[in-house]
Amino acid sequence: MGSFLLKRLAAIVPTLFFVSVLIFGLQQLLPGDPAIAMAGEERDPNVIAYLRGKFHLDEPLPVRYGYWLRGALHGDLGESVRIQQPVTDLIVEKLPVTLELAGLAMAVALVIGISAGVAAAVWRDTRWDYVANVFALWGLSTPNFWLGILMILFFSVKLGWFPASGYVSPSENLGENLAGMVMPAFVLGNALAAVLMRHTRSAMLQVMASDYVRTARAKGLDEKVVILRHALRNALVPIITLTALQFGELLSGAVLTEQVFSIPGFGKLIVDAVFNRDYSVVQGVVLFTATVYIVLNLLADLAYFAVNPRMRG
């Protein structure tokens, strides 16, 4: 396991370097002059010239990359032009918000997705299976923002149960924080639950048809034990990978949901930054998200060891 871990860790360095070049390079392909985008409605030529100088926009690409990389290696991801705050501060400020949202959404997704997937596999081709499949199809094909707006109209405007938008920090008021998170977490978790349900179902079906499950049944084990301890545990391997990847995606992919519910998280940060050509924010946030992805993947690999004894070899 030691050598495997070392190999995986060593691969992170070139991956991150490649990602950083890619982020920097791709961003330059974005049409539009950042200095013009940032100079405001008046577009005063003096301001444009000042911004070009301040953010090294008038220097060649490799030089700019050098500036940025040097800063990034020292933990300085630059400063947001639009709101004038260090990018690292913004990440530290937004990350807990998005982590909470992603965590709650993931909880919703896991509870619904895995139980529906197991049910659909165990009662294959019965009413339960069809219901779970219809639910999955619905979850996959319902756009987040649309579901979000419908929920706001129903639960906030009509019933007045939850606030329609905004975010309260849990340290300020936990009750209000959770009330504000219910709808966005459900909207985000809903689509994920569908994906998880489909994967759990197919993984479970495969495992349930395998020899050792038949053996377990032949031994006269209780069906519950067979399903939960023998089948589900093995079926979980691909689901863990998927969950790790999906969680990474949630960090950056909650964009529309954050927009609709006005949650000041990561997704909103990056979308606003792209539209305003706030380069350092885009670079910093994407680099951070990429790092999180890589680490999550590594953790997923490690989790295989925990659930699958064959890999411990």
């Binding site: 974005l30 049409p31 539009g32 002059d33 950042p34 013009i36 985008a37 940032m38 100079a39 405001g40 409605e41 008046e42 577009r43 005063d44 030529p45 003096n46 301001v47 000042y50 911004l51 301040k54 639009r82 709101i83 004038q84 705050q85 913004l90 400020e93 937004k94 923002f145 979000g148 707006i149 706001i152 109209l153 906030s156 405007v157 007045g160 606030p163 329609a164 938008s165 905004g166 975010y167 927009q259 609709v260 519910f261 006005s262 000041p264 909103k268 940060l269 606003d272 539209f275 305003n276 050509r277």
Partner: protein
Amino acid sequence: MKIAPRIRCLATALAFAALALPAAAQTLRVGLAEDPDVLDPTLARTFVGRIVFAAVCDKLVDIDENLKIVPQLATSWQWAPDNKSLTMKLRPNVTFHDGEKMDAEAVKFSIERHKTMPGSNRKGELAPVSSVDVVDPLTVRLNLSAPFAPLLAQLADRAGMIVSPKAAKAAGEKFGSNPVCAGPFKFVERVKQGRMVFERFPNYWNKDAIHFDRVVYLPIVDSTARLASLQSGQFDVIERTAPSDVPALKKDSRFHVLPIVEIGYQGIDINIGKSDRAKATPIGRDPRVREAFELSLDRQAIVQVAMDGEALPGNQWVAPTNSFYAKSVPIPKRDVAKAKALLQQAGVTKPSFTLMTATTSDAQRLAQVVQAMAQEAGFDVKIQSTEFSTSLDLADKGDYEAYILAWSGRADPDGNVYSHLVCKQPLDYSGFCNADFDKLVGEARVTADPAQRARLYEQAVQIEARERPIIYLFHRHWLWAYTSKLSGFAKVPDGLMRLQNLQLAK
């Protein structure tokens, strides 16, 4: 039976208590359409930021509902006979949020900060101000390099916001993260891309006009979600309601919609000389083709279809309701036959051009209406939806043929025309260069007499209407929607909400 009078007594007492409550802890919750940029009046760039500044930073002067300049931190002002200096008397006993005195030194500091701070967006607005003299603690004189009529209007906006010198010196570039001014509310906190909280400044000079203890601004970009938040009672007031939501709101007695005709405009910039691409299309080359294009448009119908009626048709850089509107150049009526005849005269059949537009659904709808109308006159308009920052870049490079663009407007007409149509100015996307026009607009800048200025602008409008570098279409309504419990909303044409005299009934 004996209990009844007591209950009545109690009820009366409670009712009085409830009436007395509005004075205690009241919060105004405002839904914004965008997240403001930095809250430093020197560096700020966005329209939405100006809405928030109304809470925190008072200005030397303000504009009223009729675009008249009225006192705020300055109580009176006097132009020198040669119009090359403006002397302003300041309001006595005004303090900043940090307890510092707002006096002539502070005004001098703020104006010099606007003029010299690196990256200042006010530098251009105050360019004609060459120096500021402190005459006495409550009198300042702004010396100008040349007469500049729009100066007072500039001072009614961010260029006239006075910041606390002590706080500004201490914070330097970071002043925007904790602005300290002399407005009715003090900055408390700002969650980036989230809420901005301000609390009542007890020593505000005009404190009797303020009826809230806190103001909270929260940006919600999606107009449906913003409206839902108003309807669910989370907000008391929201800005920029979608025109399509207005009819339903008007029917609902719980809410009011206040349409304010903007001081800006929505129009179509045509590339007539910005780059070589201008010569590539008949519409860029030939004024007759542009005239035909304009004649193919029915502005009233455009407003009805694209804006749900929530705009005022117009054909100049100021709205027909503005005192600088040139009545000798009325809105042309749609005339498809004449448009066709003009195209024939110009020797072009089915002239084609691309119309660049933003990606928002409103802009798309507008472009489609224009496309359909122009088609009836024989035009082939291709719509090119382009993300905003990209479109600005293309317009700046002259890499476009026609461009639907909005301008939020300035109180003085100079702010709607000089930068946009005078040769080689930063916003002259059409590449319009006309010496006579530049002379007239330049002269209007240095003329103090409004009647004389109006005459100069009228001649300038006549040239513009002949050449058509910009075809003005309409002036949008700023649509503020709020709970019917809110009263005292001033209808100031700059579209910004003043917090003075606003009141929320319990």
